[in-house]
Structures are given as structure tokens and as C-alpha cells.
Amino acid sequence: MKHKLLIGVIFLALASPAQAGPRETIMELLAAEAQVANSSYSGFSAAAGEALFLATFTTGKPETTSCTTCHTNSPSNVGETRAGKPIDPMATSVTPDRYTDQAKVDKWFRRNCNSVLGRECTAQEKGDFLTFMINQ
């Protein structure tokens, strides 16, 4: 009897997909969106996300030319807004509850992509960026 139960538990653990938390859902939606936008989509890249994080742009607002303007050049560091308020580190290894609220993720990509790049970010860019932050 005990043996059967154990087999059942192992079976269930193998059969059920990886637990889909809110962050996984956010990433899956971005992947689906990226696929629709580009048929040759082949996944997200942490390296591309890092490059985006460190890049300097001239197309956005002059006060915010890079993510690093406020977030520093390391996702593990506490950042600082231009008005002097601390910003929790971007890396999920340091701030575990980041990227778990769809509305919050949408709001800050909308604002900050417009501030820094002067346009919306693509689903590919958002996915790359988050992949970098989650792998930190």
C-alpha cells in the first residue's frame, strides 16, 4: 500500500508541468507575444538583456539615457531615483518578489522604455531583459 502511494506521488511529480507561478506566466505571455511578432523567434537571451540594460540611448529623454542612470550598472545594487529615493535591486536573487505582478511589470516597462529609449520595448526586449534579471 505504502509502495503504491509512493509510486503515485512520483508519477504525479513527473507528470505535472513545472509549477507556473506569476513570474512564469509573465514570461510565457512575453514568449507568445515575441513569437507572434517574429516567426523566427528562438527564445530569450540573458546576454541580449544585459546589453540592453547597459546600453546608452540618445532617443529617449536626456535625463535618463540608460537603465543604469537609476539602477546602477549592476542588477545586484540598490539603485536611486533622480529624486533621491532608493530602488530595490533588479536581480531576483536579491529582490525575490520582483516580476511577479503583471500590472506592475507593464507599468514600469511602459514608463521606463519611453523614458530611456523613447519608445515602447518589444516583447523580445522585455523577455531578454527579464531573463537577464532572473538569471542574476
Binding site: 536626456p62 535625463e63 536611486e80 531615483t81 533622480r82 529624486a83 533621491g84 529615493k85 514608463r111 523614458s115
Partner: protein, 147 residues
Amino acid sequence: MRIISILFAALFFMPLAALADDDNVPPITHPLVSAECGACHMAFQPAFLPAQSWEAIMGDLSNHFGEDASLDTDAMAEIEAYLMLNAEQGRLVSADNPPLRITELRWFRHEHNDREVAWLKENRNVKTMADCAACHRGADKGYFDDD
């Protein structure tokens, strides 16, 4: 006897009320306003600016002092209503060109002149004069009478 004690109480508390001068402002009592307006900078109390100013600021949130601070329409309407309702009263300002920065108002420049601003930035690590709480420890509660 009861009336006398009420009168006495009124006399006792009157000077306190008179002492609460205009260096203090009513605190923000709306959680969404505190959270959204306080995400990047101190949530400035609405009594610091007249309604015309808040209307102009809320009308251009995607160009908010060098950043996009846009909100969804529901949050924006709720916050704007609170700011307008609790705005500074009695100041005559141009509706076309209202003041947008508290730090450029005449009384502010009087309280914190150029020399003081330079000193604060040099010696007190005050990054910007918008960071009231760097010195005014009760700033978020509307208490500015500690200078």
C-alpha cells in the same frame, strides 16, 4: 459649570491652534496617492500647489520632469481628483502657465536661497531640493516646522 469648562478649554487650546502656522500642511490620506506619487520622489502634499498646477502636471505625466510617469486612466482620475480637491487655495495663478515646481515658488526660494541650496548639496548630501525628507524628518506627515 459645563459651559465654563468648555470656554476654559477653548482658551487653553486656542494658542496651540494659532501656533500651527503655515509651515505645516495637511498630510496625504489617500493610499493610492501616497503610493503612486511617492514611487520615485516624496509624495508632495497637494496644498503645496494650486489646482491649476496639479491639472497641468496630471495632464502631462508622460513628460514628468524628465521621465515618463504615466498611469492607467482609472488611477489617474482618482489621483487628480484628490489633488484638485486638496490643492492650495487662494493663490492667483495663470491657468495657461501655472507653476509646476514647488522648489521654484517664491516662498520656497525665500526659505531656501541659492547659498543654502549650494551648501546643502555640498555638505548634507542633498541630491535635489525635491528630497524634503533629507532634512525635514516629518515631511511625509506634512510637518515642515523643524527648520
